[in-house]
């Protein structure tokens, strides 16, 4: 995964932005971040179905931050790879980290009741998925959806 140095945070001047950062600290942040995600996806020209997929993935990742790390940050970015355009979601926290990342990515590890991390589901929703996490070292999840 390419490491991204933090860039200037979002400014509230109403202009469309190619990078938006949202601090995740409480309930209402979860609502805000998925709405921001949906808005950016719309600006990027994603269809309705993809917008919902992206917003859903964001919701799951942001909720993981809240549930397991108490607070963290979600960064939404325009993604470019040659002629391909899309959107990248980065969810990062300095929480306790995931002991067994492999297991967390196993399909079926997270039950439909939402008892687990939902990571296999998020991976299914997005096109590119990457996770770095270790015990005591926090977690960074990066997921990208390309425009068809």
């Amino acid at each position: 995964m390419r490491s991204r140095t933090p860039r200037v945070a979002a400014q509230g001047n109403g202009q469309p932005l190619d990078e938006v950062r949202i601090v995740i600290r409480n309930d209402s942040d979860l609502v805000a971040v998925r709405q921001e995600g949906r808005r950016m996806a719309e600006r990027l020209g994603f269809g309705g179905g993809d917008r919902t997929l992206i917003a859903t993935a964001i919701s799951e990742l942001a909720r993981n931050i809240l549930r397991y790390a108490d607070h963290g940050e979600v960064v939404l970015l325009h993604a470019n790879h040659g002629p391909r355009k899309g959107m990248t979601v980065i969810a990062q926290d300095k929480g306790p980290g995931i002991k067994d990342v492999e297991r967390a990515l196993e399909v079926g590890y997270s039950t439909s009741g939402g008892l687990g991390l939902g990571l296999p589901g998020v991976r299914r929703l997005m096109d590119v998925f990457d996770i770095r996490s270790s015990s005591g070292d926090g977690t960074v999840v990066s997921a990208t959806k390309w425009k068809p």
Partner: protein, 128 residues
């Protein structure tokens, strides 16, 4: 923002808004279960037409509502799941298993009425 709950005869109808946070969901769950008890409702309809994202917490809470309502003698139907939301949900592995679903309010009411006529007021099954 609390979700409005309407009482329509033996049924309770709740219509959720799109900006539904986790605490709103928990409040809804508590309010519905309390009202099911108070009014001895037979059915609960939760209309999620305005919900643009259904994630694991929302799915879990709806399941909890259905389970708890059933313990108090009420059947729950989730109606109005948007096609895009349904697609995203199943990809995440959220199937609302064990919870009845219907297309919209009309179908939800029809479902509850069919069930009521099958089981009868005493709770015993009667001939269709």
């Amino acid at each position: 923002m609390p979700v409005p709950i309407l009482k329509q005869g033996p049924h309770l109808i709740a219509s959720v808004q799109s900006a539904l946070g986790d605490s709103d969901l928990v409040e809804l769950r508590d309010a519905l279960i309390a009202q099911v008890g108070r009014y001895r409702s037979r059915g609960v309809i939760i209309d999620v037409t305005a919900l643009d994202v259904m994630d694991s917490f929302a799915s879990r809470t709806l399941g909890d509502i259905a389970h708890m309502a059933r313990l108090r003698g009420a059947e729950t139907v989730i109606v109005g799941v948007q096609p895009e939301v349904a697609f995203a949900m199943v990809q995440l592995g959220l199937t609302l298993e064990g919870v009845a679903t219907a297309l919209d309010l009309e179908e939800g009411l029809a479902f509850l009425q069919r069930r009521a006529s099958r089981t009868g007021p005493s709770g015993h099954p009667s001939t269709a």
